[in-house]
Amino acid sequence: MSNNDLIALAATIIFGALVSGSPLLFATLGEILSERAGVMNLGIEGMMLVGAMGGFAVWFHTGNTFLGLLAGMIFGGLLALLHAFITVSLRADQVVSGLAVTFLGTGLSSILGAPYVGKAVPQPIPVIVPLLDRIELQQLIMVLIGLVLAPAIWYYLNRTRPGLNLRSVGEYPSAADSLGINVYRTRYMYVIFGGLMSGLGGAAMSLVSDPGWVDGKTSGLGWIAVGLVIFASWDPLRGLWVSYFFGLLRRLPLDLQNPALPLISTANNPQLGRIMDMLPYLATIFILILGSREAMRKRMGAPAALGTPYIRGERGL
């Protein structure tokens, strides 16, 4: 293979990773903000699914991809609203509520999405780009949105007042409360934001990165996002890297089917593919073990109040 060919191959693989990782990135970014506010939402899978299905449906009836993405966001946000109500207002357990969201989202998307299975998908709009030759415009836009969103969210989180308030609510809600910050409203906002982003991720999948709707479209991506948030140490910029990295991992079995790469080609080594599939999850466990000591945890950045409902006047955070 000539050098140019190699570079082109590498570029294709990288772009493939970016495309594959973008939906994951959206969901991860949303959950990062939600958890930074102190609320864990295990319902990402459900929110992504309703976003994927709802977005696809709206596109199907309007022909407008942007409307589809917007609709996906809104559906995800609605499910998140439910989670927010139960966990913030009713102070219920966040784990169970999140699981319920997943069940609900999975079921709703399956039932309401049945008529859209296997239907025609959005037409890709080709665009010529150096190094990569022909790629889809929609995919390019999606990748760019992600590349812009992550640093923007980082900046919001670390350099603006609302971001400071958000972080304080997740670390030490009673201190924030005593300084006049509305803990409940803050948590509501960012849980819903997490839902909007997860819904966007789902719609991005069914409309852009992997067009089409089938039952269970996201096939567990939402659960990976839960682990990615930890893997990314709750930092949006790291979230960028880990999401794309996992996008790469997901695509690798496909990419490596190129027999020109005999040693690591998974066409020749299907077992390798399965082992590699395990990596994201094992990696998350590994990170958690590393972070089990207090000192590490401080550096890792787990929000101190994550998972505990806020009750004014109660001891502790």
Partner: protein
């Protein structure tokens, strides 16, 4: 009054020698369920002074300051700032009037920087945080008061003294003219205390007013210009000059009264030494010394009361004696057993009763029934245990007997224990702990939050146990309770037993002095 205010404003406060009040509190009444914390209290502080607020546990000092700081709203009375009546619905309101409070428990986000903590909750800047600008402002502000601070440091990296400084700066940054400090030296090392006092004097020189809540007479005399003493919600001394007052007089104002001897008891017949503590030394959760070389002996059939303002090591003493905290040095022997976290507590627990400070968190299992709570210490032995299972008949019978004996008011013995009132919960715990005729009892604040009837019951149970030969260590914030129940009294201050005496004929003024830090003979 308005006239002199006008003149002051035109000519500046330095010109007129007549001191101005930074704020005035008139006739404040604050009630909580079962207790009148502030009983028509008048309190004011002058601009540029350090005014100490003195009192023992339960005197109402923190409550009063929480009212001033905007955390509580009084049932009656008013606050006047600069002559105008002000009504504080929140700490933000108080700050808007220039009054800021530094609590004992800091409200700082550990993983954030100093600058971020200082700027949290402010209105400006609105959106974009220009942190480098804030950092410069913080440094400038700190220099104004001769404080050193690194605005970029994370809170968890700072020492306690430095963290306190951040809290102070937080208030100053918001324009606080009056600073309320609640027991600020409780968590500081001696050097940090000096540093704090230096800062406070600097601040008063620049026109700030400091209200300094404390129970430590030495410090009060060292730092304060004037002192106000509260006792049981009322003012016993208003704005006395600190220079002129003697410690003895202040102590008397703090604790002096007719002690209500609530309990009639026989004279104690102390037997052998049951508990001997030697050189107990340990640190508290923050790593600061909490117990310093504490030694004492406790005999069977007597009650040793431990007096002292909360936070002087009493909690750590109880924890060390019940195996919840490791000693850094020293030994405690219960009979022939060493008391230590690694001791066989299930075994020792049969002979050592612990009435914990926090009955809900520690002493009981809320969702389990009364009967099931009563077997918490005995479920692994017969007759309750039967092989692998628990003999439910035995459990039931045991419960019925104890509930009757200790007069626990509960619908049934199967009722979940969290539905019991505080007093009945305490009686349940006592029933469980004392039914095994323990040789040693460690009771920590046993009647906190209980009504009169429940308190009487608990006292009776304690006396009965003592008469039956138990050795009881009674830690309490209620001086009356200690004086009426204990046979001997030890006073703790800053982790040491600063004095020990028989309760009969004890001089309450001396006790007050000891509680406030002065070693007194006898």
């Amino acid at each position: 009054m308005p006239c002199s205010n006008l003149i002051d404003r035109f000519l500046g406060s330095g010109f007129m020698s007549e001191p101005q009040n930074a704020f005035e509190m008139h006739d404040i009444v604050k009630r909580f369920p079962g207790v009148l914390a502030n009983d028509h209290v008048n309190f004011s502080a002058q601009v540029g002074e350090v005014h100490a607020l003195l009192g023992e546990n339960g005197a109402g000092k923190s409550t009063l300051m929480n009212v001033l700081g905007g955390l509580y709203m009084p049932e009656a009375g008013g606050i006047y700032v600069g002559g105008q009546k002000a009504s504080f619905h929140s700490p933000q309101d108080a700050i808007a009037h220039g009054i800021g409070m530094v609590h004992q428990h800091f409200m700082l986000v550990p993983s954030h920087s100093v600058a971020e903590n200082i700027v949290l909750g402010l209105n400006r800047p609105r959106f974009f945080l220009n942190l480098s600008q804030v950092e410069e402002q913080v440094i400038a502000l700190a220099e104004q008061y001769d404080m050193k601070v690194n605005p970029r440091a994370r809170i968890w990296e700072l020492s306690v003294g430095e963290q306190q400084r951040v809290e102070v700066l937080k208030m100053l940054f918001r324009g606080a003219k009056v600073l309320i400090m609640d027991e600020p030296t409780a968590v500081l090392t001696p050097q940090e205390v000096d540093s704090l006092f230096h800062t406070l004097r600097d601040m008063t020189r620049q026109g700030h007013t400091i209200v300094f809540i404390s129970h430590k007479l030495d410090e009060v005399v060292a730092i304060a210009d004037r002192v106000t003493v509260l006792r049981r919600g009322k003012v016993t001394a208003a704005g006395e000059s600190a220079k002129g007052a003697t410690k003895a007089k202040l102590a008397k104002l703090m604790v002096g009264r007719e002690v209500l001897f609530r309990v009639v008891k026989k004279k104690a017949q102390p037997g052998d030494v049951v508990l001997s503590a030697n050189g107990l030394t340990t640190n508290n959760d923050r790593g600061l010394p909490a117990l310093r070389n504490v030694s004492f002996q406790l005999r069977a059939g007597e009650i040793l009361g431990v007096a002292g303002v909360a936070g002087n090591g009493q909690r750590e003493l109880a924890e060390v004696l019940t195996g919840l905290r490791r000693m850094t040095s020293g030994t405690a022997k219960f009979g022939s057993d060493l008391l230590d976290p690694s001791t066989h507590w299930q075994e020792i627990g049969q002979r050592l009763a612990h009435i914990p400070e926090d009955r809900a968190a520690f002493g009981s299992v809320p969702s389990l029934s009364v009967a099931e709570n009563l077997i918490l210490k005995s479920f692994n032995r017969g007759p309750i245990a039967a092989g692998w299972s628990i003999n439910s008949t035995a459990v039931h019978q045991n419960a019925v007997r104890l509930v009757d004996e200790y007069q626990v008011a509960t619908p049934t013995v199967e009722t979940p224990v969290r539905m019991l009132s505080g007093g009945n919960l305490q009686k349940t715990i006592l029933a469980r702990e004392t039914s095994g005729h323990p040789g040693l009892m460690i009771a920590v604040h046993p009647t906190r939050g209980l009504d009169v009837g429940a308190t009487e019951s608990v006292h009776k149970i304690l006396i009965d146990q003592r008469d039956a030969g138990a050795a009881i260590l009674l830690i309490s914030e209620d001086l009356d309770e200690l004086l009426s129940l204990s046979d001997r009294l030890a006073v703790m201050y800053e982790g040491q037993i600063i004095g020990e005496m028989p309760t009969e004929g004890a001089d309450i003024q001396k006790i007050g002095l000891m509680m406030a830090g002065t070693k007194v003979e006898g």
